[in-house]
């Protein structure tokens, strides 16, 4: 990306000694993973009721592997950490990683640095589904998680529509994907607005608005395993095809000449990442900017090769989101801000700063 990165993006063709560059990248990724892991422990203790990291670790140890010892912490601390904050932070970590990975993937698939997880219109579909559930009780027969389920169904509907439009004239190309995604996104946003207007309930509108702006407040142990399994599986598929992303980012003809079928690869990856976004949005609402900012920051650290870029963007996405959640719950306490507001307010200047540092011809 720039000359400053050259030390990090060292010579990949050096047969030996290549220990230097491998070490520098590996250690960068390791440091990122470590910071993310430490952050998870630290942020669990942060909130209106503060809990020391050591106590956090002991409470988690007690619940998971039954660490023996006297339970010398308050029962309220235990409830706050185990029942509320840990699921919330774990949800933030997986959603943040997913948004980071999906952002990188879409930027390669459409060869546009402004691509982000919501460009496919999937989140607008999820929002329409959620608004229908919140305002009109549609899908209430689906049980306690009806809003999330309706959101996911909305995401699937939007994806089907985008694919149908993007494929109507043959292979899915970057521009067809963007136009189809934007068109479907506008259509469904308008539908959501209509639903809010017709519902004529200020409380309902407020609930939908809070949901649209994203929140991790609904995290609980019952939905976490599904979230981890689905989004984790999606990220594995993307990482498996990391080199195809390298080649697609260079152009469809180059990809084809290197043995990668761009149409098929794009189709499979679009479906995979759209499902991931569908899961993320249905569990936490629409959280903006993470999927746009994390890939750009990661690219400055690791360079453009997806073997390094994907894990770095995942770690950064998680890091940004769990800390943004701390800000969301502490900035105006006891009131809680929607997390999308925090990521937007923090993300915009970061992105502007990054763009200003891009090479002139970019």
């Amino acid at each position: 990306m720039s000359a400053q990165l050259e030390s990090a993006t060292a010579d990949p063709t050096q047969t030996k000694p290549n220990a230097n560059w491998s070490w520098s990248r590996r250690s960068t990724l390791l440091a990122l993973a470590l910071i993310s892991a430490v952050s998870v422990v630290v942020v669990i203790g942060l909130g209106p009721v503060g809990v020391a990291p050591s106590t956090v670790l002991r409470i988690i140890g007690h619940h998971t592997i039954g660490v023996p010892g006297v339970e010398n912490w308050a029962r309220t601390d235990d409830a706050i950490i185990w029942e509320v904050r840990l699921p919330r932070v774990l949800l933030g970590a997986i959603v943040g990683s997913t948004l980071g990975v999906v952002g990188v993937t879409l930027q390669a698939l459409v060869r546009n640095p402004l691509a982000e997880p919501y460009i496919l219109g999937v989140s607008s579909g999820a929002s329409t589904g959620a608004a229908a559930a919140i305002l009109f009780g549609i899908g209430s027969g689906l049980g306690a998680e009806s809003v999330s389920i309706m959101a996911f169904l909305g995401a699937l509907g939007a994806l089907a529509l985008v694919l149908a439009l993007a494929r109507s004239t043959g292979r899915i190309t970057p521009s067809r994907m963007i136009v189809a995604g934007v068109a479907v996104g506008y259509l469904l946003s308008a539908t959501t607005s209509m639903l809010i207007l017709f519902a004529d309930s200020s409380e309902g509108a407020r609930a939908v608005m809070f949901w649209l702006l994203g929140s991790l407040a609904n995290a609980d142990w019952s939905t976490l395993p599904l979230g981890y399994l689905s989004m984790g599986a999606g990220m594995v598929v993307v990482f498996w095809w990391r080199r195809r992303l390298d080649l697609l980012a260079l152009g469809d003809e180059t990809a084809m000449a290197s043995g990668v079928d761009p149409g098929r690869t794009r189709l499979v990856l679009v479906v995979v990442v759209a499902l991931c976004v569908g899961f993320a949005v249905s569990l936490s609402g629409g959280i903006g900017f993470v999927g746009l900012a994390a890939p750009h920051i990661a690219r400055r650290i690791t360079g453009p090769i997806h073997r390094h870029l994907l894990p770095a963007s995942a770690a950064l996405g998680a890091l940004v989101l769990v800390w943004a959640d701390v800000a969301a719950r502490m900035a105006l306490q006891p009131r809680e801000l929607p997390i999308g507001v925090v990521t937007g307010v923090l993300g915009a200047p970061v992105l502007v700063a990054l763009v200003r540092k891009l090479p002139h011809n970019t």
Binding site: D11, T13, T15, L247, L250, G251, G259, I305
Partner: protein, 254 residues
Amino acid sequence: MLAATGIDLRLGAVDVLSGAQLCTRPGQVVGLIGPNGSGKSSLLRCLYGMLRPNRGAVLIGDQPIESLSQRSIARAVAVVTQDASADGIGITVGEFVLLGRHVHRGDHQSFTDEDRGVALDALELVDLSGFAQRNLHELSGGERQRVMIARCIAQQSPVMLLDEPTNHLDVRYQHEILTLVRSLEMDTIVVLHDLNLASRYCDHLALLDQGRVVYQGLPEDVLQGDVLEPVYGIEVRRLVDGEHTYLAFGPHAL
């Protein structure tokens, strides 16, 4: 050996190719020439599966291209495309050349030391050994084109196709690139606009007009006024200087 016969290609409502045929020649450079819109790039794209013809056959060895996976095609045919500008994405020369090894590794497999060695050798062959760590977008047009060729060399496919590799290059780089292409002694097909370059660097020429190959043969046979004038619609004069033939165009040429 790569051969196309009887290729018909229709894109939208336009017949781009009608009955075109072309094949590689062992160790030789075949030049594909013709006016704008005659179908040169489209024919080249049919040869590596980027475009599927409506009729006709493309054979790699004795196998029809449609029976092969894209990876198998790429193992046989390397291509210098026009789209691989890689501007602004920050990839280094070394990383770019190494991607040519993708056809030899599974999606999940990392590149090996052998791959890195092949990529280094390829860079050496195009005289860019010290460039592995440089960012691709910082290079001059000529250097960048040599990197594109190095990626094809690293791919180790017996056939190389080049789509207008001298576009946007100044005179020195045009000659440098084509000298390099010749020196590789691969089975090569190169799309060229400049007929003087075609005359100098190709062993064999195929002249395309309105989607069909209207003339094939040695450069000195194809680059004749009575062959070129009806196709290009411009007067052609020949100037022979020793072993080289030069062409000049237009009513007041020479």
